[in-house]
Symmetry: C2
């Protein structure tokens, strides 16, 4: 398994070719850094979200789910600090009118910076722009609710799902009869008017987050912070990311948000280098304090034992669905050779694979298709399955390998005689004969238990 085979170009190309992800609004020339997810992309993305929710909510007693609105009361973003502070410093060129991120000017990654109005005559000449002082540009998308000018209100598309959780903390604690430590988990879209989105689905204007806010007694915050860094690290390992491709990078003091006493990124070795896969932050009681002040509501948790109220501290593991999916694609991508022929294969963890099993009649005659359809219809009841009778069997295996299908079931003349099928394993390439009777249970067990 040669990981150096992976490049972003190959991932982008495979994603487009097999319909995982393609540029959005393509027939209109696209809309920068915006992507649509095709069939296999939706299935893979849904699996990522389902496994996250499973680990966060279903397999635990101390976390509940929430789905708050994208458009919240505008006061929420004043309280959270986003209206005042969620901005990038931008500079303009007085000559060419282009705008740049001030912090990119000195960055060797952004060498392409040059004045658009003064084209370089000779190769190597890089005329500088005539730049203004940096100004702050808010990253939140703004829109307006209400038809009437007088009663309408300016609102924002949420730049993170987290605040929807904080403003519902009191409601949820009461209704769900919870006491700290407990968490609220949410999966949903967020929007950021990024100046420099890019690297495929790594950074996009519109993206899905998986965030969980874990509310704890203040003196337990450090312990829970360490717990969640470990727990989230293990989640990625559980679904097949190699430990050598993952690392925890604690933020330096000067990187930390002013309210955070500790933040760590879980980084993945993407083809673009080590980059943030998700972040775990100890947010203290900053958010609840802010919302209590701005809403003038008591958001304290009252300890029934001591009778004393306190604002819980919050540990937040925040992950991006697109990044998790991109990491899984990079991790799974491989090229090898079978019988002298090059093969592209996605070695996805079976529970993540869009399709769990392909059912293939060996021939398009002799009763193979009929029997194969019968087997397929049974399997489909319990797992995501695909039936394919087009092209020779090798070609059909290759198609399934490319989308990461862990098992292929082939129906041949022997199936009609003794009721057995061939089960081909994507990775070991082993071919096993198994009875149709009990096949669905067997495959379900393999998909679920495989590590």
């Amino acid at each position: 398994m040669s990981t150096d085979a992976v490049t972003m170009d190959k991932i982008v190309s495979l994603s487009k070719r097999r319909g995982f992800v393609f540029p959005s609004s393509e027939i209109y020339g696209g809309l920068g850094s915006s992507y649509d997810y095709g069939h296999y992309g939706v299935l893979l993305k849904d699996n990522v979200k389902a496994r996250w929710l499973e680990a966060m909510v279903r397999e635990r007693d101390d976390i509940v789910a929430l789905d708050s609105s994208i458009i919240l009361h505008p006061e929420v973003w004043k309280a959270s600090g986003h209206v005042a502070g969620f901005s990038d410093p931008l500079v303009d060129c007085r000559t060419c009118k282009q705008r740049f991120r001030a912090d990119h000017l000195a960055d060797p990654e952004h060498q392409e910076l040059r004045c658009g109005k003064r084209p370089s005559k000779r190769p190597g000449e890089t005329p500088d722009c005539d730049l203004t002082e940096p100004r702050n540009f808010n990253l939140m998308f703004q829109t307006r609710v209400g038809a009437v000018e007088e009663t309408g209100v300016d609102v924002y598309l949420r730049p993170e799902t987290a605040q929807g959780i904080f403003i519902n903390f009191k409601n949820v604690a009461q209704i769900a009869r919870r006491k700290p430590p407990f968490g609220i988990a949410q999966v949903g879209k967020a929007f950021r008017n990024e100046i420099t989105p890019g690297n495929f689905i790594f950074r996009t204007l519109e993206f899905e987050q998986m965030e969980m806010e874990f509310f704890v007694p203040p003196d337990e915050a450090d312990e829970w912070y360490r717990y969640w860094v470990d727990e989230r690290f293990r989640w990625h390992l559980r679904y097949g990311v190699r430990e050598s491709h993952l690392r925890v990078r604690p933020h330096e003091a000067d990187e930390l948000s002013h309210y955070s006493s500790g933040t760590s990124d879980i980084e993945y070795l993407f083809p673009i280098g080590w980059s943030e896969l998700e972040g775990i932050a100890n947010r203290g009681n900053f958010d609840l304090t802010q919302h209590a002040e701005h809403s003038r509501q008591k958001l304290e948790w009252k300890d029934p034992q001591t009778g004393k109220g306190y604002l819980p501290h919050v540990i937040e593991p925040a992950a991006g669905v697109g990044r998790a999916m991109l990491a899984l694609l990079c991790e799974a991508y491989d090229e090898d050779e079978i019988g002298g022929e090059k093969r592209t294969v996605l070695r996805l963890h079976p529970t993540m694979a869009p399709i769990k099993v392909a059912v293939l009649p060996l021939l398009r005659k002799d009763g193979h298709p009929e029997k194969a359809r019968e087997v397929y219809l049974e399997l489909r009841k319990r797992m995501s399955a695909e039936y394919d009778e087009g092209g020779n069997i090798g070609k059909r295996y290759r198609r399934q390998d490319e989308i990461g299908t862990p098992y292929a079931v082939t129906i041949d003349h022997q199936t009609l005689e003794d009721g057995t099928v061939t089960v081909r394993d994507r990775d070991s390439l082993s071919q096993e004969r198994l009875p149709v009777q009990g096949l669905v249970d067997e495959l379900e067990a393999r998909v679920t238990n495989r590590t």
Copy 2:
């Protein structure tokens, strides 16, 4: 089962009380007609979406999934007609500055219309506003992408998911190797700046749609239109909506969109009366024609047999997740008496129920909790389960009834002796003793197969 017990107030109250749905941004005084979904609400809503996707994608060979962006290229909405025509006619009162929908002026439902600046002195007096001529107000939310004035672009939040499907038709047909008839299904958020949202989650500014566009040869359109009306009607029956509460209402000629040769609403008898649950429209080739024109791309499907190209016609079943969920809640809501005590119960179809099984130790001692936890941990691996040891057993049953949990497993002293548990059925109230061994298989079968 007395259906007249259901009122919108009771549904709203139960939803708030048990954390299915509550007003959004509540600590800031709310944001009109905006709702957040709590734990059970998320689980119920996820089940609705999963069952829809199951019926639309997983159980079929002819439909694939898609997840397109909320922010699409603005040209999409010019082509679709939304920029020019997706608007409500509004009138203003010159005196009180209020704004009203022109088509509501004559509507007896909107009798509250009165001038806010001329308060009625005597009961029964309804002074009229001094109204302007109607003007059109576009229902799309607008925002702006890009930091730079010169290169920034005005965009819209999609008012429907459908257009994201049309613009990807060609891509998907090629990549997924599909030929008409085939469909593309999508679940996702849409946004409409409604003048008169309301009736709880029936009509909200931000909502989730489940839309499928089925592309067919033109001469098969009528047949497929009838097929999808039937198919969608049956889907609602499948998940427990009574046939007497559902009806198909074909649109009158004057209601039809100019491009549609047929549209039917599936209506549900909500507490507010018969109202649209979902719509099935024969859209002809209007959308593909428009996008082909505006994008100057060939969107024709080329028939490999005849060699002739044609624009497929489209049948669209479009449902709202919130409405489907509201209908299920209304349909399931019931009040009865057990032993002289009033009970509120949600008779949800088991596959829709947020929690499938509650595990309850009879006593909080004598080893009951330990054994109950053991059983709970086993069940949780395969279905959404809840453990509850708080309060007497009757109270705990009531709590589960109220959120629609179909089965409650009680662990008592006999469990410790012979390894059997009591399984209580939410609807029949029967209590059956079943062995712990095999319990998860048994319950899974009941949840899946129950009609």
